[in-house]
């Protein structure tokens, strides 16, 4: 399969947007403009962007707490994401959820979940609903390495397998659950082995190679529609701390520096230049576009009104 030049550019742009979005969000924190927390995926952009760029609008995703790349990959609006991050009425969840609960029913995101593993059974239910309704679409469910130790992961994968649902389980393995290295939270080296417990296909691959992830997802989509669930493990690395308050005393600077050399955006930039004839000017233009998009999002978000206190109880129940 060959990816079109346009798609390559899209992948790069989305990764750059994600990076810039999070760098900007981090700055807004420092400026005291945010009440809450956030989890950044810097270093992991290729995962969500690669997977979600291979999806159609009707395909559904269930996101994680570390999912700006997933949202941007699926085509969500930077403006509404930033507004949500700042708790504004114009945000995706009208400031009710914050970035731990970003969702977009119109672009097929079932939402990010604050409960590790909590979204996995929900994704299975959505996959069932799509099949039941005879919608020709897949559901993609994201979660981290740490989440695979939750009971919810186990029950959900088993149920999806027994029901042979069209669902792609994507494990973003960044080798850490907060401070806990994978070597201390599970006793296997390759998470994709867990697929065997459910009799489903499991694959692991480089999580920093966005083009390869994109292609693997296209293939996996066809597979899960035909054969039922698959577990795809993307091995990557979280460059930033777990959340803004992380002391990062659990890993060495060398380890982090080593992974920085495998920064997925740098890798892809090189690949685009060397193998696909993208000029430095073209790539710089994409970077600048990303920056401009994020700057506009901040402007939009900052100009948006706060939710009204009178509306605080709206949406507790549907009426």
């Amino acid at each position: 399969m060959t990816i079109t030049r346009e798609k390559l550019g899209e992948l790069y742009l989305k990764m750059a947007q994600t990076r810039r979005f999070e760098e900007t969000a981090a700055r807004l924190f420092t400026e005291g403009k945010v009440h809450g927390t956030a989890h950044f995926c810097i270093g992991e952009e290729a995962t969500g962007v690669g997977v979600c760029s291979a999806l159609a609008k009707e395909d559904l995703i269930a996101q994680t707490h570390r999912g700006h790349n997933q949202a941007i990959g699926k085509g969500m609006s930077l403006d509404l994401m930033m507004a949500e991050f700042l708790g504004k009425e114009a945000g995706y969840c009208h400031g009710r959820g914050g970035c731990m609960h970003i969702a977009d029913s119109s672009s097929g995101s079932l939402g990010a979940n604050g409960i590790v593993g909590g979204g996995i059974p929900i994704a299975v239910g959505a996959a069932f609903a799509l099949r039941y309704r005879k919608v020709d679409a897949v559901t993609v469910c994201f979660f981290g390495d740490g989440a695979t130790n939750e009971g919810a992961f186990h029950e959900a994968l088993n149920l999806a397998s027994v029901w042979k649902l069209p669902i792609l389980f994507v494990c973003v393995n960044n080798y850490y659950a907060m401070s806990t290295h994978i070597g201390s939270h599970m006793n296997i080296e390759d998470i994709s082995i867990r697929a065997k417990a459910y009799g489903i296909r499991g694959e692991a691959m480089d999580g920093n190679d966005v083009a390869a992830i994109y292609e693997a997802t296209l293939e996996a989509k066809e597979y899960v529609k035909r054969e039922g669930p698959m577990l795809l493990v993307l091995n990557t690395y979280r460059i930033m701390g777990h959340s803004k308050s992380d002391p990062q005393n659990y890993r060495s600077k060398e380890e982090v520096e080593g992974w920085k050399k495998r920064d997925p955006i740098l890798l892809f930039r090189k690949q685009l230049a060397e193998a696909h004839g993208f000029s430095p000017a073209e790539l710089d233009a994409l970077d600048e576009a990303a920056s401009a998009d994020v700057a506009r999002a901040v402007e939009f978000a900052e100009a948006s009104p706060e939710p009204r206190v009178e509306d605080a109880l709206r949406d507790v129940y549907a009426v």
Partner: protein, 328 residues
């Protein structure tokens, strides 16, 4: 009118709704060929087939979670948890997911999910199969809680639950499954948040729900012979709670007894008392509002012990007499 059992009434409501709405699917452990642990879904697999009546592995978190996701993606799932005690196994999906999904996503999704679960003691099933856990969910905004006390209510309230756009916890009363009552044929529904007056009286009001309503009526009959006229209020749904009916009955009678099977401390009874005391009914009270509820203990296996820790008719009658200043 024809009489059918509480279990049959539930099956009838669910079956009628499934016939008229394709988006309803029914999911749970051993609900298919087995017909459910209490036989509620007997025959439904044959009628609706395995795509709509879906047996699952023993995975309560996945069952409820699957219901949440299916509801968010356009279906109206009804899931069965075999005993309400096992809601604890799926608690995150019930309270952190189902009840919050709409709110935390700013109203983008609706979650028309019904969770059916048998509740209560009396079958010798001991500590982990006998609880009455409604209070946890009444304290969870975003979910509704239903506790039908008659076959007719079970049918009408289940229909309302299925048609509701919100998650509804439908707590079936285990000991009522085989109890028969008049149930209208065909379609009807009973609105949420409307208590029923099961007996009129003026001396003392009993506020109750679920299987205890029957015992309250028995007790009311006992004390009627002694000249005490008891009004019996059946709340029917606990969330929404019909506070108006509670307050009205308290004002009318001036004496109130709250009865539930669940442990007294931290139970729904406290909310009922607070509702009365924080209303104009306070000024009409002739006596302290009293509770006659389950003791603060897990439910023991032995039948005598089991009976001794939940309200019995005699105890309720005694409490009514006490409230009215009569000695027995």
């Amino acid at each position: 009118m024809r009489e059918i059992t509480y279990a049959e009434a539930i099956r009838e409501a669910l079956s009628e709704e499934m016939r008229s709405d394709d988006s309803i699917v029914f999911i749970g452990e051993d609900i298919g060929i087995y017909g459910g642990a209490f036989g509620v879904s007997k025959g439904m697999l044959a009628e609706f087939g395995p795509e709509r009546v879906r047996d699952t592995p023993i995975s309560e978190t996945a069952i409820v979670g699957c219901g949440v996701g299916a509801a968010m993606a356009g279906l109206r799932p009804v899931v069965e948890i075999m005993f309400s005690d096992f809601l604890a196994v799926a608690m995150d999906q019930v309270v952190n997911q189902a009840a919050k999904a709409r709110f935390q996503f700013g109203g983008q999704f609706t979650v028309p999910l019904v969770i059916r679960a048998p509740s209560g003691s009396g079958t010798g099933a001991a500590e982990q199969h006998s609880q009455s856990l409604e209070a946890w969910f009444v304290h969870t905004p975003g979910i509704k809680v239903v506790t039908p006390s008659t076959p007719a209510d079970a049918k009408g309230l289940l229909k309302t639950a299925i048609r509701d756009a919100n998650p509804v916890l439908f707590l079936e009363q285990k000991l009522l499954y085989r109890v028969k009552g008049e149930v209208p044929e065909g379609d009807y529904s009973i609105p949420f948040g409307q208590a029923a007056v099961r007996r009129e009286g003026k001396d003392v009001a009993v506020v109750s729900y679920g299987r205890m309503v029957g015992r309250c009526l028995e007790a009311a009959a006992l004390v009627a012979a002694e000249g005490i006229e008891t009004e019996v209020i059946d709340l029917r749904t606990l969330a929404p709670l019909d506070r108006d009916s509670i307050v009205r009955a308290a004002k009318k009678c001036g004496r109130v007894l709250v009865v539930h099977e669940a442990c007294q401390t931290g139970g729904v009874g406290g909310e009922i008392v607070a509702t009365i005391v924080d209303s104009e009914a306070f000024f009409y009270l002739d006596a302290p509002v009293r509770r006659c509820c389950g003791q603060d203990t897990p439910i023991p296996y032995n039948r005598n012990l089991e009976d001794s820790v939940v309200p019995q008719t005699a105890g309720i009658a005694e409490a009514l007499r006490g409230l009215c200043g009569r000695k027995s």
